[in-house]
Every structure is written in C-alpha cells, then in structure tokens.
Symmetry: C2
Subunit: 292 residues, 2 copies
C-alpha cells in the first residue's frame, strides 16, 4: 500500500485563503498587518526564503517592510534597527532571517526583538511560555508566538484529519528551531513524546515505535524504510540539494512511502507550512495589537 | 538483588559543605549571598518548606530575608514587594513559595521576579534559555537558573556515579516544575528522552524500557514493580502522607527496590536535593552579581 501524501502546499494555500479574509476584516477596523523582514548579507538560500515570505505577505494583504543590509553590518547597527522596528506601530511582526554573519551574535539579536512582535517564536520568553502552557488551545489563545516550523507540523497533521492525542510521537533531532519546540507542542496535544538524537543508541528500535515520526536531522535520506512501521505518519523537515540538483529530505521518500500510513514530500511538505505559519503569527500579532 | 539506595540527604549535605566554602570565599570579597523568601498565607506544608530553606541558608552562611504576608494579601501588594526586592542589592535570590492564594495570579508573580534573581528557575526567560542551550556545561556556566527539583535529580544521578549520556530516560508526568524541565536537562545530558502522562497508552510498556525512570505523577505508589526493568535507576519525585502518617512517594518503594538497579527513597531522596539546589542557585546569583 502506498502512503497518503500530505500536501503541505495545498494546506498552506488553504491557510492563506483564511488569512486573506481575516486581513480584510482587520483592515475594515483600520489595522493593516505589517511584517518587517531583515536580511543581512547575500546568502542565496536566505534570499529565496525572504522572497517567498514577501510573496506570501503580498498575496494575503500583509504590508511588508523589507530591509536588506550589507554583509558587513555591525551588531550595533542591527540592534539599533530592531529597536526602531520595536517602536514602529505599523510593524506588528519582525523577522530577522537566520543565519546572521559571524560578527553578529544571533542570541543577542533574538533577545532584542520585542516578544510581542516575535513572529518567528524564537525569543526565550515565547519559548518559555510555550513550555509553561499545558494545552494547545491555551497556547493558541494566548499572547504566545509558536515557532513556525513546529507549528506548521502540528497544523498539517491536524488538517489532514489525523489524531495526535494518545499517539506515540518520535522526534529525531533536538534543535531549538524544530526538535525541542515540536516536542513541547506534541505534549500539549496529548501525545507521548520521545526525542532522539546523535547520542541515541539503537535509533531504529525507537523510530519503529512511532505513530508520528518527525525527521529533523539534517542528513539526506537518513530515515529508511527499515526504520519505520506501517502505522507511521512521517513528517520530513529536511531539505537538501542532491548532486543532480533535485531536492530531497531527511527521509528516503521513495522507499518509505511504500510502507507507511502517510508522509510529507520534499519539496511541498513542511516548507510551505513554515511560511504559512509565519503569516498566521503576523496576523495574530496585528490582532493582539488592537487589544492593548 | 536489592537496589542501591540513592541517599539524597547525604548528597545534599555534601553540596551544602561545598557551598559553605564558596560562601566564605565570597564573603572575603565582600559579598554576602542573600535570599529573600516570601510566604503568603498559612499553608502548613509551605511553612515547613520555608522553614527548611531558611535552615539551609543559615547553615551555609546565606543571609535570608523572610517575609510572611497574610493570606488576604492582594496581587498588587505582592508585586510591589517583589519590585522592591528586585532593586535591593543585598538580595541575590527571590523565592516566592507556591502555591499562592486564589486572588493572586501566579504567572504574573513569576514574571515580575527579575530573571537574574529567579533562583527557583521558574521565570519564562530562564525556562526558555534552558530549552535553548544544548549542553549541560553551557547551561551551568551561563546566567541561567535551573529549576531546583529537575537540577537536583540530575545532580543526584551524576554524584551517584551513573552515566546519563546514551541512556533512555523516561519521565512520567509533564508538569512545568518537574516533567518538562527535567526532560530538557536529560536531553542536554545526551539521554534519549520520553515524556509520558495521563494520555499515554500502555504506560507500563514505555516505563519498562527506561534506564532512568523519573516518577513525577502525584499518585501514591503508582509505579509498581511490574512497570520497571532490572536495569532501571528510579527517581521518585512524589511525596504523599499516608493514613498511618508515614510518607510515601509515587513509586511502590518496597517492591520496586527488590528489582531495580538503584532507587531514591521518600523521604530523604529528591526532597533534600531540591533545597540544596536552591542554595546552589542563590550562591550562583551572588557570584554573578559581582561580575556585572
């Protein structure tokens, strides 16, 4: 049996359609959601990410304020810019594209962003609040911004009609951007959660138990068919460019899809969801700004 | 074979001896570590906890500033007191004993404490920073306060000579005070981590795989001998008073100790470690205050 392919592109499109309507309502109330994006340097991948984010903003009706700074920008200059954006009432969300050049301390920059404009969900206060809440409904209702990729993962599983509560979720990878926050979200959704990593012995024994398997390891096709069970819903967070220029994920898609219950493709899986959730966070920030 | 009994009381005593020496050095440099404790109301358990904390301070040479407020204290009054303590240079650590009376929002109070004086490690910014760091050494070196019970659990396992890296740690319970932060610490120590809870199906199947099992469920003797394997190191976070006035934990100690590799008793296990780590955090706060 071939797995159900979870179409991230289509789900992201649905979300954008919903946001368009919300933005129209907000504009009728005089609020134009605004996202400030900051790119430092000329990393080609970062340029593509930013381009896609700006395109999404335009489609939904979010006003975007893009700043492209030279690679030699100093930490102080960047921090001053963030300070300005923090105080700019037109800007509801601030996104600083990572990675930053070496001379800039990423942690300092993330800490400088007003937590109420931290639509990337990377500020320690948002991460801390996320860990402190018990249920997903609570988290979504409150002034908390969820990191976009983990939030997108949960959303694509929910919108595909699968039940997360009571399942065994196994996450391979413990990064701050994906592994750890997605573990907290699965907990909030009432799954039993296991986090594996390079220090895990007998990885395949652990991954085979998964009802939901999230691969966020950063190694092309590392998750093979032997490592998954028939019941698994496989979410692939990786994106790698192969020598033949094709893209692949952390999962050996062609073989794994023959075995499992459902799987996300690369491209067209988690990637579009990440950007869609950034838009969700930006609209949420704009809505919250009207309430204070 | 009977399990090794991990003597939390003795390990806590060792830690206090080490801290005494550190405090003498600090005092020679003109720094007297100070802990402000705040108790609202007359909950008998809270009064005992506070008494034990003040006793530990006295033994180590930490100056304690205790405030006992009436049960009907308003949120505003408590917040004003915390504000004062935040600005008081003699106070390096602030501990507000939980739970607080109904009219006071705990979250608001925790957020009001200066993160650099948050020796309980409950401020979202400390929780967020904890989740954001990768290795235990990093965490311990930085300006982060770890929540006392999780920190005590890790410390008692390390000081008993067991290896955490590469092990399977299973945590039963997902509270903000124990379950979730201890999961992050085990990850930072390179264990594979599984978090179970009331929503977990087949709990015994999961707990039986544990090399290290942390029981933080709040149900007397819930973890039985059938739920553990011979290789397990069992850490019992619960404390319950039985009808015969004896104390017991979340683990069926008498039967489990006949089977496993090591186990903590109740009382005399995690409890004394929690207070010892509060003292560690307070001395750390005092040391850090000299560096700014």
């Amino acid at each position: 049996m071939v797995a159900q392919i979870i179409d991230g592109k289509k789900i992201a499109q649905e979300i954008r359609e919903e946001l368009k309507k919300e933005v129209i309502c907000l504009k009728e109330k005089g609020v134009v959601p605004g996202l400030a994006t900051v790119l430092v340097g000329t990393d080609p991948a970062s340029q593509i990410y930013i381009k896609n984010k700006l395109k999404s903003c335009a489609e939904i009706g979010i006003y975007s304020y893009h700043q492209h700074l030279p690679a030699e920008t100093s930490e102080d200059e960047l921090l001053r810019l963030i300070e300005e954006l923090n105080f700019d009432p037109k800007v509801h969300g601030i996104l600083v594209q990572l990675p930053l050049p070496e001379q800039i301390d990423e942690n300092k920059v993330l800490l400088a962003i007003d937590p109420e404009k931290d639509v990337d969900g990377f500020h320690p206060i948002n991460i801390g609040k996320l860990s402190a809440r018990k249920r997903m409904e609570e988290i979504e209702k409150e002034k908390i911004f969820l990191p976009c990729t983990p939030y997108g993962i949960i959303e694509m599983i929910r919108r595909s009609g699968f039940t997360i509560a009571g399942s065994e979720a196994v996450i391979v990878g413990r990064s701050n951007i994906v592994g750890k926050p997605v573990a907290m979200l699965f907990l909030a959704e009432n799954a039993t959660v296991t986090i594996c990593h390079t220090g895990t012995k007998n990885l395949a024994d652990v991954t085979r138990k998964a009802d939901i398997l999230v691969a966020a390891v950063g190694k092309p096709k590392m998750i093979t068919a032997e490592m998954v069970s028939e019941k698994a819903i496989v979410i692939d967070v990786g994106t790698h460019r192969l020598p033949d220029e094709k893209l692949c994920g952390d999962v050996d898609f062609d073989n794994v899809k023959e075995k499992v219950r459902a799987i996300t493709p690369v491209p067209g899986g988690v990637g579009p969801m990440t950007i869609a959730m950034l838009m969700v966070n930006t609209v949420k920030a704009a809505k919250l700004s009207t309430k204070t």
